[in-house]
Amino acid sequence: METLLRLLQQNATVSREDLARQLNLTVAEVNDRIAALEKDGVIRGYQAIVDRERLDQNTVTAFIEVRITPERGGGFDRIAQRIAKFDQVVSCYLISGGYDLLVVVEGTSLREVASFVSEKLSTIESVISTATLFRLKTYKENGALFTADVPEDRLVVSP
């Protein structure tokens, strides 16, 4: 993967000037490359990694295993895209194994997620079954550890 992309993945808020200095490029070159990555759809967006437990104790994340009947001609795509369009769905993946889709849903309460599953998801015609797993605690998300790793106790000057 391109170094620029790696740097943006680690921290998308780094200034264009800092990126340029690290990559031995001009700011204009960095801007061009980022613009091209955005245009090609390689970069789909920029977000903050939020520790929801610090924000609101009631916030709920559910991982829902969904089994569906694939359609003749369309396979899983049409139904997966339909599920992905719900605002409550944060991520939606087609996966291998015992079920077909892994749907990540966020809500402000258990009840809200439960009603999404029972009223929206399960009622879709080709959905055969769902299994809902609730997040209890986050240890790492998108590469960011949620617990501090190691204290800073290096010698201040060393040979």
């Binding site: 170094t3 800092d18 200095r21 290096r154 000057v157 060393s158 040979p159």
Partner: protein, 389 residues
């Protein structure tokens, strides 16, 4: 008690870096570019291997030379990365860091009065280690105009009938210098011609940038049989506290080094030897990740230093920039002390690495980019306020 201390120990001057360390430690909120070890924590898979080793109850001594499996891993790694083949059972010794390996190699080779050539500015331990082994340390200057590479002409001038060893360290602490094959060749020829043994400290080998390949002098014609290849896990794998180094050399020399090592140290700790196996066998990706980080920071720091009027060519190895501070008109020591007092940024005066380091300071980029950024801003303010530009 002072009069009881052996003369050759008493006469070793206090380390310049120690003095500086004490001043920095007494201050608050200092950003330190004076650190000679990685800021990364050892990759988790390696730490986990150390935990697993303890869990299994592996807490005893190992063979004096080191765990056979680790020596095998070392021989494989050195062959794979540097294209020199060593016989693991007889030509590899695991030491407590490269420092110990240098010490026992010198003690195994030197008779009193034998001369050891080394390039300067250099790592702080070379000169005193030679003295402690009753040898005579002979420094060979390297110059900024040569990108701090060792030149055969400078070396040749200092070879005498008593010269026995040449100590090399490329990539170099403190200059970041590297020696490509063409630069090493004339040095190797001189070593063969004058029958010199080479102690080659290649601890920064993995931290070679710009896609350049690290070349070990042991690979050049006639060199394997006269080279002690010294390496370890401290820098490339961020394992300084694990204290694992190693020496690869012809069997008779390893045997002689082992005589000293077995009585002085017995063996390197088993826990960290186990971790070292994991590092060598499965650490390539983690090393590459850290190398990339260092390279990006190097680019940043070099561009910032040049911009503030401290010329510095781009070093191609290690994690140091040896910045030329002569445009400020200050000595290395004054520059470092005033920068520390006025802007709370710590760098190490070049003179800590030998008298030829005057006019330079060592800036380490083994520190987060955020810290480097602030340090460069503060340093620019300091340099702008210096009297002579």
């Amino acid at each position: 008690m002072e009069d009881k201390i052996a003369a050759h120990v008493r006469d070793i001057p206090r380390s310049g870096i120690r003095d500086f360390f004490e001043i920095v430690q007494s201050m608050h909120d200092v950003i330190s570019l004076g650190i000679g070890e990685p800021d990364f924590v050892t990759p988790w898979h390696i730490r986990e291997a150390a935990l697993f080793s303890l869990e299994k109850g592996r807490t005893g001594y190992t063979s004096n030379l080191g765990l056979p499996k680790l020596r095998e891993a070392i021989a494989n790694y050195v062959s794979r990365k540097f294209h020199v083949d060593y016989h693991a059972p007889s030509e590899v010794l695991v030491s407590v860091g490269v420092s110990e390996a240098i010490d026992i190699a010198l003690r195994a080779l030197l008779n009193p009065g034998d001369e050891v050539l080394y390039h300067e500015p250099c790592y702080v331990s070379y000169n005193p280690s030679v003295t402690l082994a009753h040898g005579k340390a002979v420094s060979v200057p390297v110059h900024e105009r040569d990108n701090f590479q060792l030149r055969a002409g400078e070396l040749a001038k200092r070879i005498t009938p008593k010269s026995k060893i040449l100590l090399l360290n490329f990539p170099t602490n403190p200059t970041g210098a590297t020696m490509p094959r063409e630069a090493l060749e004339p040095i190797a020829e001189l070593c063969v011609k004058h029958d010199l043994i080479v102690l080659s400290d290649e601890i920064y080998a993995e931290l070679t940038y710009d896609g350049a390949e690290h070349v070990s002098i042991a690979t050049l014609p006639g060199m394997r049989e006269r080279t002690v290849f010294l390496h370890g896990l401290s820098k490339g794998w961020a394992m300084t506290g694990f204290r694992i180094g190693y020496a690869c050399a012809p069997a008779p020399l390893i045997e002689a080094m082992m005589k000293i090592h077995q009585y002085a140290i017995l063996c390197a700790p088993i826990t960290t030897q186990d971790a070292a196996i994991e590092a060598l066998e499965h650490g390539d990706a983690a090393v590459a990740h850290m190398r990339e980080k260092y390279e990006l920071r190097r680019n940043y720091i070099v561009s910032a230093l040049n911009e503030m009027g401290l010329p510095c060519p781009t070093p191609r190895g290690a994690f140091y920039v040896f910045a030329d501070i002569r445009p400020t008109g200050l000595t290395s020591r004054d520059f470092s002390l005033r920068l520390l007092e006025e802007q709370k940024v710590a760098v190490v005066p070049g003179t800590a690495f030998g008298k030829d380091g005057e006019g330079f300071v060592r800036c380490s980029y083994a520190t987060s980019l955020e810290q480097i950024k602030i340090a460069m801003e503060r340093m620019a303010v300091f340099v702008a306020g210096c009297p002579r530009r």
